[in-house]
Symmetry: C2
Subunit: 188 residues, 2 copies
DNA sequence: GGTCTCGTGTCTGAATTTCAGACACGAGAC
DNA sequence: GTCTCGTGTCTGAAATTCAGACACGAGACC
């Protein structure tokens, strides 16, 4: 199926999101801009948050589904931020007006997904304990989470990849080395 | 209404047209690339030519509907060729494989539409006879038609506007002056 | 010639989607 | 307080999309 109307509704929503913040966009706005019956919106979505949730899920899903080798963290991050870079202003409006709890949860989920893939690929069989693996994954995820949050709060004014690499080299790499682990960042 | 599926079918068709010539594209190809039931295609279109016809009509319609002053012929032409420029390879494949009769008829229609608007705007009230107006419009339309056809046959390798301007200055302008008419081409 | 494959155009009937129109509810403006 | 406006829900009709089948013609191949 993959209803074309759903596609169009989402596209329209993102378009409106380029123009004004999330909390100034109503379901009515969307369906009118889209030329669609209001009931049709509710046929596909329970409410507006449900639409947002689907959009975020799709982006995360798109990233997670990609069974990459995560050869470099930088590459994965580039991939992960495709959505933000594609919808720069939209992301800004979302971040500054959407329910922060929901957003944070998804951001953290995303960071864990990135961290997990990356860490697993560099750890290989070096660490036996699952607890240690989890700890290292979470450590990486939170560092990433912090970098992204700082970037979003700044209004996405600087190159987040550049910034993250700096943090990584200053903090993460030494910590990993301390554990006898070599990162693959220098490969990139 | 403006069925989103129709939109998607047309988009898919143009996409395929970028890849291979018209006569190598079947209805089956389109619906499969589009992920749509074959019957749904026939619900919207009688057959493949009907889809092409609609596409061409839309482009011409889009141009004709624009109630411009046609201040310069060049500007109108730029507008008129937006479709060709947008779908360069597609246009090439269409021109080189579609039923030439149909294509020519539409091309001529398009040229007349351009010529009519332009000529009317430069003629003003200077020529009383409707016959004369028609003759001048047709003259312009055919010159335009010729230029475009030559351009298409060359594989759209050169700048058609540049070429047309040359023809215009060499042939059309003198002819118009002979009739005591001044063109507005020099304004541009 | 014959047969086989494949895309076409058409049909039927079911399932799904989109629609118009109405309703009660709550929030915010005034 | 009323009034407006968007919401979320419901109903039933209309439109769209679907699966599945059919006969037909063109082209490949033997």
């Amino acid at each position: 199926m993959a209803s074309f109307m759903k596609q169009e509704i989402k596209r329209t929503f993102l378009e409106l999101l380029e123009q004004r913040p999330f909390n100034q966009i109503t379901v009515k706005d969307i369906v009118e801009a889209c030329g669609v019956n209001r009931n049709s919106f509710y046929y596909h979505y329970a409410d507006l948050p449900a639409l947002v949730e689907e959009l975020i899920d799709e982006e995360i899903g798109r990233f997670v589904r990609e069974e990459r080798s995560f050869s470099t963290l930088e590459e994965s991050m580039k991939e992960a931020f495709a959505f933000f870079q594609e919808h720069r202003r939209a992301a800004y409006h979302v971040y500054n007006s959407v329910n922060r709890d929901i957003f944070d949860r998804y951001l953290m989920k995303s960071c864990e997904s990135i961290g997990k893939g990356y860490v697993n690929s560099i750890l290989g069989d070096t660490v036996a304990s699952q607890e240690d693996r989890k700890a290292i994954i979470h450590f990486n995820a939170y560092v990433l989470y912090g970098a992204v949050t700082r970037w979003l709060e700044s209004g996405m004014t600087y190159d987040v990849l550049e910034d993250f690499r700096r943090v990584f080299q200053l903090m993460v790499e030494p910590a990993m080395r301390q554990q006898g682990l070599s990162t693959k960042l220098e490969d990139s």
